[in-house]
């Protein structure tokens, strides 16, 4: 297995693990979109190996385009993750403000 093919396979496995853990529907959607593009890259790499020399250039161009899409999808996942984290912090802040029990308040602040 080539170095790049192994890397994309590892990336797919990592995205799948993240999907299994993710709870936010927004993040889940972003991860699924990323997985779809990553799978496309893996499929194109496979096709590249099997393709005759005449078709390789075209497939390489496709791979470059799809990889750009993958980078965009990764950035989107990062953006959404940041947003989800910020939402979580805001939620905890609201809970601290609403809490009346001092022990619970302290636990929320930790």
């Amino acid at each position: 297995m080539g170095k790049r093919t192994a890397a994309i396979k590892a990336k797919i496995a990592s995205i799948k693990a993240k999907i299994a853990k993710a709870k936010s529907p927004e993040r889940l959607a972003a991860l699924k979109a990323q997985l779809k593009v990553a799978k496309k890259v893996a499929a194109l790499r496979k096709a590249l190996k099997a393709a005759p020399e005449s078709k390789r250039l075209a497939i390489r161009a496709k791979i470059a385009r799809v990889q750009a899409k993958l980078r965009a999808a990764t950035k989107n996942v990062q953006r959404v993750t940041k947003k989800v984290d910020a939402k979580r912090v805001a939620k905890i802040q609201a809970r601290i403000a609403a809490a009346t029990d001092p022990k619970r308040k302290r636990a929320l602040r930790k």
């Binding site: 990062q78 993750t81 940041k82 984290d85 910020a86 979580r88 912090v89 905890i92 802040q93 601290i96 009346t100 029990d101 022990k103 619970r104 636990a107 929320l108 602040r109 930790k110």
Partner: protein
Amino acid sequence: MKAAEKVAALRKALFKAPKAKKAAIKAKLAKAKAALRKATVSVKKHTSRVDRAHTRKVKAAIRAAKAALAKAKDPVKKAALKAKIAVAKKLVALKQKLAKAPAHKKAAIRAKISAVKKQLAKANRKVLKASNQVAYRKLAIAKKRLAVTKNPQRKAALRAQIRAAKKVIALRKQLLKASNPKVKAAIKA
């Protein structure tokens, strides 16, 4: 919150970091996530304790309302107490449902609980108002008796009764106006 903020900050750093530094940040992130999990467990423990205490309080209020209902003669007060008991029972049932519910249903149940809490506050106000009406009537009767009576001992007893009734009415009025739970508790005491 500190743990959640740390996780968020580390994630941000991870996204920006060069490949060489990613492994170190990932290790830190794993530690921060473990701390966050621990903090979440602690918060859940305290939340359930607070919830249990609140349920106990509501159950005690139901018992007190039932006792008051057994004593009450005024139909308006009786109706207000019955309504209060019904709403309080609903609140207890929802709290129990919340404890057993799966995570995705909890938000909906919490919304229902907050609505029912508002209903309970309204029902409480109605009971207080009805109790005050009864007290006003008793006060008027005592005043009439005081005007008629000649026995000094009885007069003194009636005056004491009127003073006490006026104080109770004033305290109930304060309770109706108060919004701070600490002030309310002080008035109730």
